[in-house]
């Protein structure tokens, strides 16, 4: 892979990665959101695969395959299964409407670029120049987590945060140690499973899993 095509491929994957996060903000149908999330998983695996091709690292290639399996197949499958039992599959009343959400995404992108200055300066390279994209996805994920009311949307927000962090991990240092990466993936998987089970139980107890109902505990 030549240097130019490496940079182009990397930017393409990062662009798709960011676009998927923005699409999550744009669409309200939960089924579409889950599909977009799966696409983002593919883009993330693409980022890792491109870096693996550039570095000629077999270990990174294997990690890319693992990420594809976990984030583009397994997690979306779990989300879809949770969705199947849910009621109306739309984010009916987000706290912030779509137009304002998209504007917020633009602001978050600028914040991400402003904050990640020191990260790019430490080791300027095509990969680290893409770090702000990862940070933007993290911030968008938090935004979804805070402003969405459906249990499943919140889970997707949490997973966006996690995707963003994983992207940053690979863009900065070609990943954290393998043991840690494994532990992290397992933890994310379990966290989603736990949230799914809790969402089911909440639905059984409260009727519909609209988190506005969760207001009994307060001071």
């Amino acid at each position: 892979m030549t240097e130019t095509s490496y940079v182009q491929l990397l930017d393409l994957a990062c662009g798709a990665f960011l676009l998927a996060a923005v699409l999550v903000l744009w669409r309200r149908e939960l089924a579409v959101i889950v599909r977009v999330f799966a696409l983002q998983g593919v883009a993330l695996a693409g980022i890792v695969a491109v870096i693996a091709g550039h570095d000629g690292s077999a270990e990174l290639g294997a990690l890319a395959a693992g990420i594809l399996a976990l984030r583009a197949v397994l997690l979306p499958w779990l989300l879809r299964r949770a969705l199947a039992g849910a009621g109306p599959a739309r984010e009916t009343r987000p706290l912030v409407n779509v137009a304002a959400s998209l504007l917020a995404a633009a602001v978050l992108t600028m914040i991400a670029y402003a904050v990640s200055g020191p990260l790019v300066e430490l080791a300027p390279s095509p990969a680290t120049h893409a770090v702000p994209v990862g940070l933007t996805v993290v911030l968008i994920g938090f935004f979804v987590l805070v402003t969405r009311r459906r249990a499943l949307s919140q889970v997707v927000g949490f997973l966006l945060v996690d995707n963003g962090i994983t992207a940053i991990a690979f863009l900065t240092t070609a990943g954290v140690p393998l043991l840690v990466e494994l532990g992290v993936s397992l933890d994310v998987l379990f966290a989603v499973l736990v949230l799914q089970i809790l969402a089911t139980r909440i639905r059984d107890t409260f009727g519909d899993a609209d988190l506005d109902e969760l207001q009994e505990l307060h001071d």
Binding site: L119, L122, I165, T172, L179, V184, I202
Partner: protein, 543 residues
């Protein structure tokens, strides 16, 4: 041999998980399990207490090996133990022993009241043991990544314990707990990734290994490290119940089963704070002493202010204890901000003292909830007359918590305050002391209303005050009937208990043991002090 010591604190609870998975929670088999421990009373779940005791023993043995002056840390694979890790193991083991020893009586009462089944109790046993294993892994982890995974693991395991009762409130608490803690701990992971990035470009390439990071911290890029440290402190601070991401704590701690609340409040918060302590050392070496200190001082004051403002008008006693945990985590943050050798020693002593006192209080509050059927302070009154031993241990626990001698929290709070003034945090420490005064007044006010006051009408003259000479060893109230029907009123469900059953010995013993240990810790001199100072040295990298 040393490797065995390293693995044992994690392996023992892991075996406990297996034991519960295989044997289940039947009284008979639990008794068989208890047979080889040599314990003499009937009761399920002694396996759990045995594992916790083993963990404590391993912690003490490790402390004896690595806690000597000049002793090197032991390392094996991803595990590493220095004096600080060993001390943290002792903290975990001590509180775990209290909580697991009190579990059988608690679960028995839940079972009798129809709020639990043998199946949920068995799952409870498995999850608690897995929780203990994850905490032991967190403090024995040789690197930041493994520590992170272990801390996130505790969230996953305890989520089901918080939501155990499956009521609306319990599920709400569990959901908030998982979402807020996972998001917070995700921040910590971002910080870990960035620290790894900074480490990869440092001259010594320390990776994420604690020891290598602490020695090579001076070579870390300040710009990146600053972002990483802020994320790590806020992230692990979330799990430690520090403001601003503390909102999950009062809900989760008030909804979890009492022994789990004791573990979560008593040790899980401290284990998360242990990560903050390690990070502070790296931050000080990489960025100078000011950055982490300012961050921690702000977080400390914010936590204390949150706790004080919400304790004043608190109506729920379990939430009162939860906010008190936020207060004490704020104090730990203040001590860490001071950061001197004595301050760290005081912080470590405070962790253990708070863990013991808070465990006693949560276990006691679980019993109060089971016998009175309400968690509102206003509806529990004249507890001293009806259940003298329980009331006495609750009152003493609160006294310990607000820092009365002889309990060890007196010494550690004094130590933290002195260190604060000595290291130029005078204003912050003064503000913290004022907030603590407010909190102490609020705690005493609420506790006083619970323990004293007029007895509810339903009790009437049928519940005469038990004579004080009854003594703590023999909790027996004349109104409670003979020992043959000790739990008669519990079966009727909460609220129906007009004459509360006597406190079972299996609950009374952990309560009193916790208080005695907390007081003994405050009175103990040399040995404990040496261990604390060695642990502080191990953290600060001093000889």
């Amino acid at each position: 041999m040393t490797t065995l010591l390293l693995v044992a604190p994690i392996a023992l609870p892991a075996l406990g998980v297996l034991a519960y998975a295989i044997a289940g929670w039947h009284r008979g088999r639990g008794f068989v399990g208890a047979g080889f421990v040599g314990a003499g009373f009937v009761g399920a779940g002694l396996v759990g207490a045995a594992c916790a005791a083993g963990q404590l023993a391993a912690g003490i043995a490790l402390a004896a090996v690595v806690g000597r002056p000049g002793a090197a840390a032991i390392a094996a694979g991803p595990l590493r133990a220095d004096a600080l890790s060993a001390y943290m193991l002792v903290v975990i083991g001590a509180v775990a022993l209290l909580a697991t020893a009190a579990s059988p009586a608690y679960l028995r009462a839940e079972l009798d009241a129809g709020r639990a089944t043998p199946r949920t109790n068995r799952r409870y046993g498995m999850l608690v043991q897995a929780f203990l294993a994850a905490m032991a892994l967190a403090v024995l982890a040789a690197n930041l990544g493994v520590l992170w995974a272990a801390v996130e693991g505790t969230t996953i395991v305890t989520a089901f314990l918080v939501g155990q009762r499956r009521t609306r409130t319990a599920l709400e608490a569990a959901w908030k707990y998982v979402v807020i803690c996972s998001a917070g701990i995700a921040l910590a992971f971002l910080g870990t990734v960035l620290l790894n990035f900074a480490a990869a470009h440092a001259p010594t390439r320390p990776g994420l290994d604690w020891a290598a990071l602490a020695t090579g911290a001076a070579g870390l890029d300040p710009g990146v490290t600053r972002i990483a440290v802020a994320l790590l402190v806020v992230g692990f601070g979330t799990k430690a119940g520090l403001a601003p991401l503390h909102a999950w704590l009062p809900d989760a701690h008030s909804q979890a089963p009492a022994p789990v609340s004791a573990l979560m409040s008593g040790v899980l918060l401290s284990v998360a704070f242990y990560a903050v302590l390690r990070i502070k050392v790296i931050a000080d070496a990489a960025l100078g002493i000011g950055f982490a200190r300012t961050l921690l001082a702000v977080v400390a004051l914010a936590s204390l202010a949150v706790a004080a403002s919400l304790l004043l008008a608190q109506r729920d006693y379990k939430r009162m204890l939860a906010y008190s945990s936020i207060e004490h985590m704020g104090l730990l943050a203040l001590g860490a901000a001071a950061g001197s050798r004595l301050a760290i020693a005081a912080v470590l002593l405070h962790m253990l003292g708070h863990g013991l006192a808070k465990a006693v209080l949560f276990l006691g509050s679980g019993r109060i909830l089971q016998t009175t059927g309400t968690s509102l302070i206003g509806e529990v009154s004249a507890l001293a007359g009806r259940q003298p031993v329980l009331a006495a241990s609750f009152g003493l626990g609160v006294a310990a918590l607000v820092g009365f001698p002889p309990f060890s929290l007196f010494a550690s709070e004094l130590g933290i305050a002195r260190a604060g003034f000595a290291t130029g945090l005078g204003w912050v420490t003064t503000a913290a002391l004022l907030l603590m005064l407010v909190i102490a007044a609020a705690m005493f006010g609420h506790t006083g209303r619970m323990l004293l006051g007029a007895a509810p009408a339903a009790d009437g003259p049928a519940a005469p005050r038990a004579p004080a000479a009854d003594g703590p060893a023999l909790p027996r109230s004349p109104a409670a009937g003979g020992p043959a029907t000790p739990r008669a009123s519990v079966v009727d469900g909460p609220g129906a208990a007009t004459t509360p059953p006597r406190l079972p010995a299996a609950t009374a013993v952990p309560l009193l043991a916790g208080l005695v240990a907390c007081a003994a810790l405050g009175l103990a001199g040399g040995g404990v002090q040496q261990l604390l100072l060695h642990a502080a040295d191990a953290l600060l990298g001093a000889p």
